[in-house]
């Protein structure tokens, strides 16, 4: 839309036409509009970064320079690492954007992507081999990258870890066929001990004082007459505490650098008195936090940003577990309702900017991650609503402000996930509905009572702890407490489950990567009944899950020594108390899960085999094996039989739904055999991000009629696109047959609804009735796309005009124009469900 057309069309007209993205542009404040348009999009499109976005060489150079300098230092590794992190924070370039009230970014400049060269050589080589992301002058900087890459060969975390892994498992995992990611404690999804750090009781300065006390006490203890095994361990604790202190002090220093820059701008450059005042307020905020607890909403947001920025300088974090309405809510209440130092409009500007600051965050990632998370840098799924520790409603005015701000700034990352429970007010539900109706694709809805019970069932969290839960990544609940929080969920326990059924037909040999990956189950043609066939499926399932879990367990055991997290430990009560790295398994309750990508293909495939091979005997397994080996070529009639005449999940058909329950039951039983290093279970969690597209060329032909190259199904328990033919209630009924407490950790369900049908009060009431059914059936998750085909097709034709159209991809949302054509088509193909 041209600027003139945007100016001349009223908000009412845009809203009437359901063109929410243009209405938002007109409704948001001048400041928010500027900051929103100032964002450099960091999410990759089809695996490639957007033009102009560049790898940040400054951070890589600073890190490498300090590492070289410290090679001969007698410091233990954790101390060296802490000093390197401090060096980066002390010397990186910082900036303050015009009109901004919040500061802090992972990279050195707004268009850069932070690159940590110490994580993995395979990541470094991607930086070297991606000329589109190398800053100008390309040739010269490529040489710089080469030198950095060469230095870290053999020294990066993954290089250090590889020799101590089971090499066979590692090769299978790194083949890319069954897993996604690498087992590193400095690369994955990192929750925080928010109950310790975000409740206003303490900040970095208080923790440093506590560390000093601990260090003095233990130092005195080790020098008393006598020596025990505990005395010997105390030296390691002293090193850990010292390292934590170094990083926290560096955190305070970088905040003061921002304060200084804000003052320099105010005193030397800025002429607008109002902006001068804002800059001095930024300076005051950065002098307060993170050294001392926040006093205002602005300082509370700023504190959060600093914590996230520092943690993301310590590790590559692909998620953003958070509960912002809960932890920042008291400051909103104080500023807006009690002290009245902020108007609601001013607060909304801050909330909107907080979303924008998060949307900018980026760290350079490998291509498999970019392809699996199209259009975003990571899954910033922020948790809203829910209950307090005592079980009362936790929603507050800030919950509502977040929903309103989200509709104004329309960022795709962070997204929200709302913890629904029966006490949520109608006012809050209406705000949520508005976000969904206006096509944000979020909040996704989570069944709080079910998920609290689920956390207690699978991981034994006490109820008060379970009630603090946030999304560790897209879906998995994880508490924010001393023992309950998980410092790092490694993404490689992500199973490409379509391989389970594929391997039944190949006896575990993977024809795509050309190696034996799965179990050597008998030739499928020799199996004589469905039970034998299902037995082979179980064997393959167990084999794949075990390979992935063994690697994560090993990495987690090694993490405290090989890949310590001194900063994250420094904001974790359990590490302050114990002197141990926060990844130390004995300190944690254990909250592991296996993400089950491409799960439902198994169900539809098993149902097809049961019906067409064993029940109706239309085909033999030998014939089916041959057809799959040929990728169904020359067997189109047979393929269509498997597509059309086999029952499909999501239609309230017990024939196939019972198979889903059997598969989940087998997985759940095995989940209790698999144990994490803290001794807890490994339940499965069926979902996809955009793995259904990433794996399209990796998964071979399947008995549900899918061919190699076809997009896989989009959700954890979502029916295949266009295969749910019996309406929305049938989808819910199928999903409702699953026990969402004991059947697995969580189950992703995508639904598309018609924006026309849900346009007014009647639409809201229809949605509420639908949500009541959802809640009554005890389904743990649901999320909606509510953008019509016409708009999406128009966005495909003219992407520039539809920059802020958002769709729900899987456990996250993305701007429609930022995802690949294949993913776009896959979303359009999803069935639009009519309610009522």
């Amino acid at each position: 839309m041209t600027q003139a057309a945007l100016r001349d069309t009223s908000v009412d007209v845009f809203e009437k036409n359901q063109e929410w993205w243009w209405a938002a542009e007109k409704k948001r404040s001048t400041r928010l509009d500027y900051l929103r348009k100032a964002i450099w999009k960091k999410g990759a499109i089809g695996g490639l970064y957007a033009p102009g976005v560049k790898v940040d060489l400054e951070r890589a150079k600073l890190h490498t320079q300090k590492a070289k300098e410290m090679e001969a230092s007698p410091d233990p590794f954790v101390m060296k690492f802490a000093k390197i992190l401090a060096h980066v924070l002390d010397n990186k370039t910082i900036f303050i954007t015009d009109q901004a009230q919040l500061v802090g970014y992972t990279g050195s400049l707004p268009h850069t992507m932070a690159w940590d060269p110490s994580c993995a050589s395979i990541l470094n080589e991607e930086a070297y081999n991606d000329p589109t992301a190398i800053p100008d002058p390309v040739d010269e900087n490529q040489q710089v990258i080469r030198e950095i890459c060469n230095y870290w060969i053999g020294k990066s975390d993954l290089d250090k870890m590889m020799p101590v892994f089971d090499m066979e498992d590692l090769m299978k995992m790194l083949s890319g066929s069954i897993g996604w990611g690498v087992p590193l404690a400095r690369g994955g999804y990192s929750n925080k001990d928010y109950e310790y750090i975000m409740t206003g009781k303490r900040a970095f300065g208080d923790i440093i004082e506590e560390l000093d006390r601990k260090i003095d006490e233990v130092d005195a203890e080790v020098h008393k007459p006598g020596a025990t095994a505990e005395t010997a361990r105390m030296y390691d604790k002293l090193n850990n505490w010292d390292a934590m202190k170094i990083t926290l002090e560096a955190g305070i220093r970088i905040a003061k650098r921002y304060a200084r820059l804000a003052r320099i701008i105010a005193e030397n450059f800025e002429e607008d008195p109002q902006r001068k005042e804002e800059l001095l307020k930024i300076a005051s905020a950065c002098e307060q936090v993170p050294a001392k607890p926040p006093r205002t909403l602005q300082e509370s947001f700023q504190y959060d940003i600093f914590i996230q920025m520092m943690s993301r300088n310590e590790a590559i974090e692909g998620a953003w577990p958070s509960r912002p309405d809960y932890y920042h809510g008291p400051y909103y209440d104080k500023d807006v309702n009690i002290d009245k130092t902020l108007t609601k409009e001013e607060a909304l500007d801050l909330v909107g900017e907080f979303l924008i600051r998060a949307a900018e965050v980026c760290q350079f990632k490998p291509k498999w991650t970019r392809e699996g998370l199209q259009g975003i840098d990571g899954t910033w799924v922020w948790t809203m609503g829910g209950v307090k520790k005592d079980g009362s409603d936790a929603c507050n005015d800030l919950t509502i402000a977040f929903m309103q701000a989200a509709r104004l700034v329309r960022v795709a990352n962070p997204t929200f996930s709302f913890r629904w429970h029966p006490k949520v007010s109608d006012e809050v539900m209406r705000e949520i509905f508005e976000c969904i109706r206006q096509g944000l694709g979020y909040p996704s809805m989570r069944h709080d009572p079910v998920l609290i019970a689920n956390s207690m069932h699978w991981h034994g969290h006490p109820i008060e702890e379970a009630r603090t839960w946030v999304h560790q990544a897209c879906l998995s609940p994880c508490p924010t407490t001393k023992r309950g929080y998980q410092p790092m969920r490694m993404a490689n326990a992500t199973a490409n489950c379509a391989k389970i059924i594929e391997y039944v037909f190949s006896s575990g040999f993977d024809h795509v990567v050309n190696m034996q990956v799965g179990a050597e189950t008998p030739d499928v043609a020799t199996l004589t009944n469905f039970e034998e066939f299902f037995g082979a499926w179980i064997e393959q399932m167990k084999t794949i899950f075990s390979i992935l879990v063994r690697a994560v367990n090993r990495a987690r055991m090694l993490a405290p020594t090989l890949t310590p997290r001194p900063f994250l430990s420094g904001i974790s009560e359990r590490s302050i108390e114990s002197g141990l790295d926060t990844c130390e398994p004995s300190l944690a309750q254990g909250n592991a899960w296996i993400t089950a990508f491409t799960w439902v293909e198994n169900i539809d495939s098993l149902a097809a085999v049961k019906k067409l091979v064993f029940d109706e005997k239309k085909y033999t397994l030998a014939e089916l094996k041959e057809a799959l080996a040929k990728n169904w070529e020359g067997c189109e009639e047979m393929r269509l039989d498997f597509v059309i005449n086999a029952p499909k999940w999501g239609n309230d058909d017990d024939y196939v739904d019972d198979i889903m329950l059997r598969c989940l039951d087998e997985a759940a039983k095995f989940s209790k055999v698999l144990k994490c290093p803290s001794g807890n279970n490994w339940p499965i969690l069926p979902e996809n991000v955009s793995g259904n597209i990433h794996y399209a060329n990796i998964v071979g032909a399947l008995p549900n009629g899918r061919r190699l190259g076809d997009a896989l199904y989009d959700g954890g328990v979502s029916p295949g696109p266009g295969l749910d033919k019996n309406g929305p209630t049938a989808v819910l009924k199928s999903c409702g047959k699953i026990d969402h407490i004991t059947g697995g950790r969580a189950f992703l369900l995508n639904q598309r609804l018609s924006p026309t049908q849900l346009a007014d009060e009647k639409g809201y009431q229809l949605w509420r009735a639908y949500m009541r059914t959802w809640a009554d059936l005890g389904i743990d998750h649901i999320q909606f796309n509510m953008v019509d085909d016409k708009t999406l097709r128009s966005a495909q034709k003219d992407p520039e005009k539809y920059q802020e159209v958002i769709v729900r991809v899987a456990g996250y949302s993305a701007h429609f124009v930022d995802i690949s054509r294949k993913t776009q088509d896959n979303i359009i193909q999803r069935t639009v469900q009519g309610l009522g």
Binding site: I39, D90, N91, I94, F95, L261, I264
Partner: protein
């Protein structure tokens, strides 16, 4: 040799005048901002394209 301390963009630290920040105004295709990079007063900036001689006022 031209050094950073002679430049308009150099802002020394109160506690240590030998160190400071190079503060510059930048306009990129999407936004305008001020950036600060730590430098030493005595750093050689002979080849710095952003160098602007500081005017000393008595």
């Amino acid at each position: 040799m031209t050094t950073c301390q002679e430049c308009k963009s150099f802002f020394p630290l109160d506690e240590d005048q030998a160190k400071g920040d190079c503060v510059q105004r930048v306009k990129d295709p999407r936004q305008a901002y001020y950036m600060a990079k730590p430098v030493n007063a005595e750093d050689d900036c002979s080849s710095c394209a952003s160098f602007h001689k500081k005017e000393f006022v008595q």
